[in-house]
Amino acid sequence: MSAFEFLMQGLGTAADPMMLLYALIGVTLGTAVGVLPGIGPALTVALLLPVTYRLDPAGSLIMFAGIYYGGMYGGSTTSILLNTPGESASIITALEGNKMARKGRGGPALATAAIGSFIAGLIATLLLAFLAPSIVKLALVFGPREYFALMVLAFVTVSAAFGDSALRGLTSLFLGLALACVGIDQLTGQARLSFGVPELLDGIEVTTMAVAMFAVGEALFIAGQRVQVDDEVTAVKGSIWMNRRDWARSWKPWLRGTFIGFPIGAMPAGGAEIGTFLSYATEKKLTKHPEEFGNGAIEGVAGPEAANNASAAGTLVPLLTLGLPTSATAAIMLAGFQQFGLQPGPLLFATNPTLVWGLIASLLIANAMLLVLNLPMIGLWVKLLTVPKPWLYAGILLFATLGTIGANPSAFELGMLLAFGVLGYVMRLFGYPIAPIVVGLILGPMAEQQLRRALAISQGDWTTLVQSPIAATLLGIAALALIVPLILRARGKGEVLSQLAGDED
């Protein structure tokens, strides 16, 4: 049988009403847990995996796929509505998405996220099905120096989220880098900046920090405002659906996000966040409405959300073709596959085609189910914003702490949540942007480790960093992205640029 026939057969099995019900349950459960801030897809899948044990293999596989995609998607809803990212890959979504929601455009923001996720999931799953073996060959070319170059590029793109002051953007970024140093150094096992506190040995949990910075910091800031008039949240203005203009502005970011997110997700050390950063920076560069960035540009939601979901499918490439679990989520998926007797690896597509194609068909169905579940829910979700402020913020803090407690029920973790919440408040007060500190915390350790690995392999020879064509190209792009705006400014076009950038905060 050809790949296509296998896929059709898988889809045929999955189209059974009972199977569709399992998919629906899986998607619902996955979204319900994944929506909690601080609980990412890894924990969601780990928690819900036992639920699938009781079903027959086909049913369990499809419910599992539903949980995976549901957990991946869940984070964006709270990001957009409550400015509380559910996991690190939806931090970028909060930047523009929440601004849209505050202007009464929460409906279109959620819709573009849902449809973008669907389209990205669809394309990426098909790419996974038909191109996985060749993509993985490309991904393996990436060694430490190539990853380092990729991280440098991602760092440069962070400046897209700097706002109007280079000083405050850089300060925020370097605070993030400082926090990233906390904990055991992975390459030598030495404890850094942990002052003998055992809880600090593993470093600062990105999700705790993101939830604190966004949710807690924001709640404190809003509560402290004496004049609350100009910040009145409008629940719905205009249609809650996307209008023609929204569609026109969304479809390209969806596609670009997909093609940025998928290969990065497929790289063994890529990670979903990097794809969202790069997608955001790309959209900001290409948009015809630069003035809207920072004030709720729909492209800034559509692109990163698509990238996020595409990288979720991308993660499956090394997992299925090499048996390589490249993220915590993938490691749990691997455990899940083993219960179906499916041993991922280079021979999987040859030895076990029915199951693989069954899984891919299940992912496609789950993806569609997610859209079916979420589009009608948008009307309901947007109503959340009409909840009176006291109850809304009480609820936000309830769920923010619930997520932190659920992931790690220790007083220390809650203490960090409080401390970073206060830090987030102070930063907001003085006009420091929040995104760079979180991005620094995520990218810092990755870049440092890859650099040191590259140098260890080359035995201290720094030229190794530019000796590979891929690394050299990536570094070149990063350098251009950094230098070109400076040259333009020097030539007197600076005024235009600063005007464009001036409307952000």
């Binding site: 459960l29 319900a32 847990v33 609980i39 928690l47 819900l48 036992p50 109007d164 000083l167 850089l170 300060t171 370097f174 605070l175 880098l177 400082a178 140093c181 150094d185 030598t188 030495q190 850094r192 900046l193 807690v216 709640a219 404190l220 509560a223 402290g224 405002q225 004496r226 004049v227 006291p390 109850w391 913020y393 009480a394 609820g395 803090l397 309830l398 702490t401 619930l402 407690i405 659920g406 029920p409 007083a411 809650l414 203490g415 949540l417 409080l418 919440g421 206060v422 408040y425 007060l429 006009g431 810092g444 440092e448 650099l451 690995r453 140098l455 260890a456 035995q459 201290g460 905060d505």
Partner: protein, 164 residues
Amino acid sequence: MSVSRYEPPRRRDTAALIIAAGLVVIGGVMLWDSARLADLGGYSGVGPASVPRVVGFALMGLAVWTAVEALRGDFPQRAPQNALPVLWIVAGLAAQLMLLHVAGFSIATGILFAFTARAFGKRNLATTIPIGIVVSFVVWAIFSQLLMLHLPAGPLEHLIFPRG
């Protein structure tokens, strides 16, 4: 922060100077800690102390820059703040933290809920605390009993789910 862009009268910004001092302290701590580390650079030449050192110096530099802007009064105008509501939320989070393992999730989180509502204008704690506890308990029941999340249980949880 982008709403009003009028030029404020230039004056020394004390709060921003304090931030600059804070950055010096953080940078200093990083340099002090990295000096303590054994330089196990191995073959890479870049050891565990290298990156903290670079970040430490960068923070010092940013502190100087911040101080300059503070002296020139270049920091943006800040919206006036009420301290009381902020303190209520901080108190709520602190109370939750301390009560979590003693009183269980519902009571601890119920207090956070009520204090937050207080910060946003619902002043009657006699009604908001019970509401908070009930809401938290429902959430606890759904997530810990149906979705198997591990959430600390206290007297209230044990009362209703005797062996939970």
